[in-house]
């Protein structure tokens, strides 16, 4: 599927789930500061948005609520992609 941008430009990240305030989903984040995040289950595929500031080199920090929506927990991997492209 290399022709699909969201797959071609997506990166894999380990999930860390935090309930600390600063990682909670901010309501007023500019859309260009958001990344698309999805779980890796074909049978129950889910997508959400996460602030770019939660992204690290090899991990992404998700709020408890978002982790629950995506049905992932700490140590799982997710796929991340920039809404506009250019992750890689």
């Amino acid at each position: 599927m290399p022709q699909i941008r969201t797959v071609r430009e997506s990166v894999k990240r380990y999930v860390l789930v935090s309930s600390a305030e600063k990682y909670q989903d901010p309501r007023h984040v500019d859309s260009q500061d958001l990344l698309m995040v999805s779980n890796r289950q074909l049978s129950d595929f889910r997508v959400g948005l996460v602030p770019r500031s939660n992204l690290r080199d090899d991990t992404v920090i998700l709020s408890e609520a978002l982790a629950a929506q995506l049905k992932v927990e700490g140590g799982d991997t997710v796929r991340m992609v920039d809404l506009k492209g250019g992750m890689k």
């Binding site: 935090s18 309930s19 600063k22 991990t59 920090i61 140590g75």
Partner: protein, 490 residues
Amino acid sequence: MSEQQPGVFYRGQWIAGQGEAWERADPVYGRCIWRGRGASPAQVSDAVDVARHTFPAWRALGFEGRALIAQAFAARLKAQRESLAHALAEETGKPLWEAGTEIDSMAAKVALSMQAYGERTGSREQDVAAGHAVLRHRPHGVMAVFGPYNFPGHLPNGHIVPALLAGNTIVFKPSELTPRFAQLTARIWTEAGLPAGVMNVVQGGVETGQALARHDGIDGLLFTGSSRTGVKLHQQFAGRPDKILALEMGGNNPLILAGSWPEKAALHHVLFSAFISAGQRCTCARRLLVPQGKAGDRFLEQLCHAAQHLQVGAFDASPAPFMGSLISAPARQQVIQAFEHRIASGGVCLLAPQLTEGTALMSPAVVDVSSASGVPDDEIFGPVLQVYRYERFEQALELANATRFGLAAGLLSDDPGLYRQFADAIRAGVVNWNKPLTGASSAAPFGGVGASGNHRPSAWYAADYCAWPMASLVADHCELPATLPQGMSL
């Protein structure tokens, strides 16, 4: 507190325990401060699985990312110092001022551990004769941490912080005598942004502890506690070179008074060494070695007088006491039994303890065991000081080393020659001259020899047991050597 408290913390959530039920009352007022059920063996297993599953993500976060969270933890400890100290003092019986210093030590541990990580482990590169050498350190995986009751904050923290910084995940089993402070510690970590599943807590007693120690999913166990339990763990880990075991146990610590000494300063150092924390520090002086003769007699007289007047009281008493209570009434009973056993074996009571009924309060006791027979080489974990009178300094050195333990030892003397002799002969991990035995610096390695540990010193050296070294020789591409080894042709 009448409501049931949760006994298991994993996936970032507290849930009800399904193991043994118990209740913790504070040791002076007898008020219930924690009631609940511990983690069942199945829940312990779940906690280890969660820690295992989270490990690669936590490791991947990198040292800087982990250090930021640990720094946030330290900042929160400082911000909540007063309320945390109060909770800690109430649960352990130690005076508020002392509990405050324990919170300070916990916070200070973060910067020290970050520094030690870089200095003791971390990574470096250099060009050597054989090529380019790279040294890196890798976390073990899931570490079980067993905490003691005397410093329910500072001591487990001394394992948890370096283990987390190195990239390990944790399953922490606190003492069943201090469940509430462990709950608070987990809360502070969560507020600091520690991701779910990185540090998990299983409350409980023997059943929970055994389930954790036996679990095949742990890569190591970091223990601070009694020698009896430590030896059992050591037996259990026999034949398991794949698991790292760090044991910090007690001592039967000698403090020698020799030659001449400034009276008041020596008195202060002996009182502090023997009775701080109601004698519930592993570095407390248990044996005081005093020369025979008039100067020694006078010192002991003054010591007993001053010990008798040490203020003993509730953690929140005003004015503040020097000593709080022991951790529990049964613990006090054991200490009193040990004291009475010394008297029955021919020891002479120099100062009898005063007990406050219905509490775990106990005032200092001093017993001269010079002519007692069969005094066991055990740690009396309370405010009981045993005195030995000696004739010659060499005899004092022999007495000091006549223990299976080797945690702390000290000399109080104006004579630097005696100190040289002492430092040469003594066998202990913490050896002080003209300083109290307690209050070891976190910037130095901490641990003992003999039955006091298994040669895995903590504090500054905790970094060593939290990571394994990976030594590499590297080159950008394979290169054929100028000459082939004999017997090889290509």
